[in-house]
Amino acid sequence: MRRIPAQAWVGLALLGGLGVLSLLAGRVFPEVLAGTCPLGNDPTHPDRTVCELAFGGLWISLAIGLSAGALSTGIGLVVAAVARLAGGTLERWVMRLADAFFALPDVLVVMVLQLAGQSLLDAGSGAGLGPFGLMVVSLALVGWAGPARMFRNRLDTLEGQEFVAASRALGGSGAHVLRVHLWPALRPFVLAVFLSRLPAAILAESTVSFFGIARMEPMSLGRYLGTSYAALIYEGGSRVVIPAWLLLVLLVLGASLASQALATRTRQA
């Protein structure tokens, strides 16, 4: 097994560290933050400290990013695998559909899906989805096209290799080749694509929540920043925004570093 690049370890450690920190500070021992936060209380939420809101938001943003990233990567993988197995006209049409989805801007489509989903929730027909589930599904519906295109291209490259041709020549079916030969070679790439979806999902959710369209409670980092911006503008309180911003940057930085390093390694392999 090839060595995992140091850059990927740094990114994964950063992600893991933030996850543990948000769990401990935001969920397990929130009273510690409530009593010791040096930044004081939030002007728009006087009963909560800035640290409580920032770390609580970090936990939600991370959970949304992981769930939406995993779901969109899974959908993309299934679409790419089905398209490659079917081949021919079906594959061309599926990939064109993926390209059409890819051309649409994430934030705009997520806003429309949130509007539709919230109306369904209000009418009591949300299929058991709460605001959190609705956001995850919206982000996954928007985000599957990129991974599908990447997985399809990667499968295409792998299928051109000699060991796959040998397996086919020995009578291996499409599903057998996919399961036994292609999947093990694809796995590190799947992880890299998943990690690349994580920041995209977190940023899209932050932007939509910032507009006040999502109704998540407890608040994600984006929603927290969205509800605090009046305080920032009218009271000059950058202390409210900067901690949440730094946490968001670190979260995306960790995922980007790991994703880029793993993607480069799989390209070189």
């Binding site: 850059q7 064109r96 059409a100 051309a103 649409l104 801007p105 994430d106 934030v107 705009l108 806003m111 429309v112 949130q114 509007l115 539709a116 919230q118 109306s119 369904l120 209000d122 009418a123 009591g124 027909s125 920041p199 940023l203 932050s206 932007t207 910032f210 507009f211 006040g212 369209i213 984006g222 920043l225 969205g226 911006y229 920032l232 503008i233 009218y234 000059g236 950058s238 925004v241 911003w245 968001l248 940057v249 670190l250 979260l251 995306v252 930085l253 980007s256 570093l257 880029q260």
Partner: protein
């Protein structure tokens, strides 16, 4: 030429698909329920939604477009806009986006040259850290930090600041691509030959390297231009600019379904137009693109 027309056709198909998808999504919304919930629309309002969308009428799905072309107000409240107002707001957003695109290209060129210079030094880590920082910062955060100082002043300053704010990450993204392409190109034999004949580094870069690198930049400009237009939504909201992004967000928040349908389709048309313009520019500036299509 035929391949270009096929690509144009494929992109144009996206517009009616988006129009129908957004219409039927809005038309299928359960906008009323019996419970007394403050988030629900009243029966009167729901009836006006149905009128706006032409639900239950023959060819009712054409209603938003009929209202658009007749110059009637789309939407159910005072915030409903006419087609002319929509286009005016769109032109404002496109203007901010175009200024941002120009700024992004300046950032891209600067960052690519710096990244190339940092490549072998102690600053090489900045080549990775700057993009990560830029990609990890949603547009609304620098906008929030700058808003208190620019919103009150007016005189186009909010527009220019919005363009500046939304240009940063696309600029760094394009700069990363350009930097990688520059690195590959600078290692080629023709660069060494030109330098050995006494040409300065700047002249080699301007006359020989950049013309070979620019097509790679054009490939990425289409998606970036799209992101700039969509990214301006957040900046418009923070800086209070009364353009398309602000209109769209308010239409979604207020469930102005007819406005959402028309605005989504208009926006998809803009994206298709941007894609086509980039494709044509690529054909003009890159002889290899012309040859591959003939």
């Amino acid at each position: 030429m035929r391949q270009l027309l096929v690509r144009v056709g494929r992109q144009l198909v996206l517009v009616p698909i988006v129009a129908l998808a957004s219409y039927f999504l809005m038309a299928s919304l359960p906008l009323t329920v019996e419970e007394d919930n403050k988030r629900q629309v009243s029966p009167e309002l729901a009836a006006s939604y149905r009128r706006d969308l032409g639900i239950g009428e023959p060819l009712g799905f054409l209603r938003p477009w009929q209202k658009l072309f007749r110059g009637e107000r789309l939407g159910t409240s005072a915030q409903g806009v006419t087609g002319d107002e929509l286009l005016l707001k769109l032109s404002g957003s496109v203007g901010v986006g175009l200024v941002a695109l120009a700024l992004a290209l300046v950032w891209a060129m600067g960052f690519a040259l710096l990244k190339n210079r940092w490549r072998r030094g102690r600053l090489s880590v900045l080549g990775d850290a700057v993009p990560a920082m830029a990609f990890g910062t949603p547009v609304f955060i620098p906008a929030l930090l700058l808003a208190p100082t620019v919103v009150e002043r007016g005189h186009m300053l909010p527009e220019l600041t919005a363009a500046l704010v939304i240009s940063v990450w696309p600029g760094v993204f394009l700069g990363t691509l350009l930097g990688d392409a520059l690195e590959t190109e600078l290692a080629r034999d023709y660069v060494r030959t030109a330098a050995s004949k006494g040409l300065s580094r700047g002249v080699v870069l301007r006359r020989h390297v950049l013309p070979n690198v620019l097509p790679a930049l054009l490939d990425a400009i289409g998606p970036v231009a799209t992101a700039l237009l969509a990214g301006s939504f957040a900046a418009e909201r923070v800086f209070g600019l009364p353009y398309f992004g602000q209109l769209y967000v308010l239409a979604v928040l207020q469930k102005q379904v007819a406005v959402v349908v028309v605005a989504t389709t208009v926006f998809a048309s803009v994206l298709v137009t941007v894609g086509l313009v980039v494709e044509i520019v690529r054909l003009i500036v890159d002889p290899r693109a012309r040859e591959s299509r003939t």
